[in-house]
Homo-oligomer: 554 residues x 2
């Protein structure tokens, strides 16, 4: 569970202890030295953290990672060991006074304004506005961008998978083994849950964040058994404690024969795999209330499903309810339908109520496209276990968040580029989301800090920041200010209270449900509009002309 | 620096403290319980860790990550807190005796055989062979696969970038901000260095692993200055301490005018950007011996380069040598050539020896393709700073390492699949690399554990494991056994000595240089051959028939 910072309570450090002030680019320290040498290090700077394009060809992004940023700055302190290392690592010989300065810095002079974690966000709008002494805020650039980039990317990926899978399906994150490093795995579990997944297989993430855990068994477990004869302790008590079945193995074998001999089940199997049968029985003896079986080690329809059903029916005799099966290869649409048919036939044939509703989990190399294809073909899968494509964000492995100086010493700054999409929007800004009559967000608008905010029912001109001809009047039915103070907190607290992961997850799900559907669809989604006020528009273009060099043509 | 395990010395834990026995999938623990319930948990199992396809459309992979695996098992111990958490997380009520068992486990009964870290490796050949009590070895599956997958993927990506860039270029890893989470960043720095990079920008990785650090300054640094008038302390001592230049700013301005008025330099600029000039002077005052300038904040040819040259010439007057420039946008081929021309013209015009050789670093969204395109166009870049595409392995964000049971209780096991490429190669095996007359590796061959090893100058039949018709006789000139014991070490040590990252990096570079060039080329590389002995071939197919179910056609 995310530790909330109650009154006076200290905020815990980042989840990963490797997130320290040294987790930054060398140039942040060389710049800090240059600022210090120039006596400029205390100048008050304002930086915006934002991205330029939504990932995965979509038109929305889920913002995540700010909690970890706050944990970092709440505990931001260079150790003597860090300073010793820096002394030997900076190019050239830096003056001692600089290291004394480094020794003293923390983030008490820094202010962080942020969009609420778990919100739906859009390009160009600052996710974070960070203000403070220029040298200190520069040091935060790399870790902040690192902590937000992947968190937002993978949360967005999770939300997109949820969108395709539909609300009724269980989504399980199974990516730890393929993630980019250990905390690629741990962050993935955290932020996939935030983005709408239901559970993870990652035990450490379950412990750290209170995420529900799920898992079955592996192919190796199946092939580690030779046959049911290996099983020595064959006894299983009845579910209600009323007695003991002394030979559960025989009971399963009896059921298997019954299944085999029942014509209406249309079996095509002669003999099921005995090592698989042994493994299933063993797993059922260990977890009679939670028997789940991976049925594709040898042959799904001719071995895995009959073996599973025999064990499940034997469990049912003793008052237990089996959980279901997992399919990890082959044609998941076809196999899930075959499995469902078989379960229903068993329910009917042997009068076992509910047997047809057995949970079917599918897991092999799933992604947005395969989920979509499964939906189109029709399938009977209840739960999806998704790994590689989800956690590595295979379809687009990076989000391009940047951190740009927009003001220093109350002077607005602009970053120019020959590529217009890379020109930054200067000034310390306020950002609002304007909602329309139907309750959908219509447009985000950025204004200068001192402009009066948009008002409900009052017409306001929203301009594209760089395209002169794109503008529209909007009469908002609701106005939401996006950036809220996260650090320092008011009334003596060091930060605003950090909500739990569950609360953030609920916000995310609620925000997604509030969006106009055409922004969310997978194919040709409509871009959501991001704008600036007329005043800010004029100022951007004044500053641009002012800074751009004038050439001479020869 | 990687801590080597000297005599009797304990091996440090994994680099990331989050790598603990809980960093695993839940099902590893549910299976452990089922094994324990069945009295099967101590059965000796052999697992192979391998991948099925080389990444990035190539025909080779660099193996990395084993050091971290050894650090994990050398310190493998569940804490009371872990056990408490597991008790509440396993489905159903597990018996107390199981938790007593978990409390007692460590990896003293486990053996790990591994290919040397930093080696060039190929599909299907086990990178690691892990033997031990089945319940314990299963727990290791997830962290081992996690630790090897990304490490090998990113090391391979680095090696591929090195291959395209050529040996003479400096390669700098600048990916921390875009990496998948904090230790996506730290692992990236470690394994890119292993794969042949020269340095990183990541300070924490520099500290942890002794990797050289590099960095310049950012666009924000440039735009944080308004003009050189901001600079208060304008004095700079001569390099040799012989005196002081009281007004370095004026000296720079004098040089800028000289450059402007020199017709032979063919300037197209009227006035350079003053905020940029201020930033450059300030950076030079801080690092007169290591002055590097990012020259593309406003306009490379009309502002950045002339400003840089003016500062560099002023530094030269005082006996300092400027480092060079960084280009971070635009047409890098063209701009680097323009910069080089200008530097050479300055060298000639003002007689500053070596000025033309100024280092040019390029950084914007570089990857294998853009490096290749730059080579084809011709460029003057000396060093490449590579981030996003390198560290996130954008071209292919995951390597599919798997961990398969190949033997239990001395019984060989096979994992079948309708997809032949997914059938596992059973048996505890030995693996050899056979070298030809020209010193190139010819083929890797796997044999049963008790077969006699291939001998130099003796003909041996190498068979494709699954394709009957693919086989060849080989007469090796050299035979290398690939799997070496990493854990436990002999002569009382707990593990073999873990080589330093530098040594592993050298091995990698040496191994790459030893490969036949047609396996390494980017376009249509020749697949390297991986084979099994005739005996193993026969055994695989015997086992396969034995395990596959026999159907009936209706």
């Amino acid at each position: 569970m995310a530790a909330a910072a109650a009154d006076g309570e200290a905020i815990e450090g980042p989840t990963n202890p490797m997130v320290t002030p040294l987790l930054t680019d060398l140039y942040q320290f060389t710049m800090a030295y240059a600022y210090w040498k120039a006596g400029k290090h205390q100048e008050r700077a304002v930086f915006d953290l934002f991205f330029r394009r939504n990932p995965f060809g979509g038109e929305y992004t889920i913002f995540a990672g700010v909690e970890e940023c706050i944990r970092l700055i709440a505990n931001f302190k260079l150790t003597e060991e860090d300073i010793f290392f820096l002394r030997s690592s900076l190019p050239g010989k830096c003056e001692d006074g600089f290291f004394d300065y480094l020794r003293g810095i923390d983030c008490s002079d820094v202010e962080v304004y942020s969009i609420t974690e778990g919100s739906v966000v859009f390009p160009k709008v600052p996710l974070l506005r960070v203000e403070g002494p220029v040298a200190v805020v520069q040091l935060l650039e790399t870790p902040f961008v690192n902590l937000v980039n992947y968190a937002s990317l993978v949360a967005t990926n999770a939300a997109r998978h949820r969108f395709v899978a539909g609300k009724s399906k269980a989504l399980l994150e199974f990516g730890l083994r393929r993630a980019q490093g250990p905390d690629g795995g741990i962050s993935a579990s955290k932020y996939c849950y935030l983005g709408g997944f239901d559970a993870t297989s990652n035990v450490a993430a379950g412990k750290l964040f209170g995420i529900p855990l799920r898992g079955t068994h592996s192919h190796a477990f199946v092939s580690s058994y030779m046959s049911p004869d290996e099983i020595i302790d064959k006894a299983l008590p009845y579910s209600d404690g009323s007695g003991i079945c002394e030979d559960f193995v025989s009971l399963v074998r009896t059921w298997l024969r019954k299944i085999q001999l029942t014509d209406s089940l249309q079996n095509s199997f002669v003999e099921t795999n005995q090592s698989e049968l042994g493994a299933f029985i063993s797993y059922a003896l260990a977890f009679p209330n939670n028997f789940l079986a991976l049925v594709d080690t040898y042959d799904v329809t001719r071995s895995g499903i009959p073996n599973f059903c025999a064990v499940a029916l034997a469990l049912s005799d003793l008052g237990y309810k089996a959980g279901g099966i997992r399919l990890d290869s082959g044609d998941l649409a076809y196999l899930s339908c075959e499995a469902r048919k078989f379960f229903c036939a068993i329910e009917k044939e042997f009068r076992v109520p509910g047997f047809g509703k057995m949970t079917i989990t599918a897991s092999n190399d799933l992604n947005e496209e395969t989920l979509d294809a499964l939906n189109k073909q029709g399938h009977e899968v209840d739960a999806f276990g998704i790994g590689t494509y989800l956690v590595t964000c295979f379809a687009q492995a990076a989000l391009g968040c940047v951190f740009k100086l927009v003001e220093i010493n109350n002077q607005p700054r602009i970053k120019l580029s020959e590529d217009v999409s890379k020109v930054s929007i200067p000034c310390k800004k306020r950002c609002y989301r304007l909602y329309g009559r139907e309750g959908y967000p219509l447009v985000d608008i950025m204004t200068g800090e001192n402009e009066s905010p948009p008002k409900v029912a009052e017409r306001i001109l929203c301009r594209h920041p760089f395209n002169e001809s794109k503008r529209a009047y909007v009469v908002p039915q609701q106005v939401e200010e996006l950036l809220k103070c996260y650090w320092p907190g008011d009334s003596g607290k060091k930060a605003v209270e950090l909500p739990s992961l569950k609360v953030t997850r609920e916000r995310c799900i609620q925000q997604l449900s509030q969006m106009r559907p055409d922004h969310m669809r997978r194919l040709n989604p409509t871009p959501y509009k991001v704008s600036v006020s007329a005043k800010l528009y004029d100022f951007i273009h004044f500053l641009w002309l002012n800074e751009a060099p004038v050439g001479e043509l020869h």
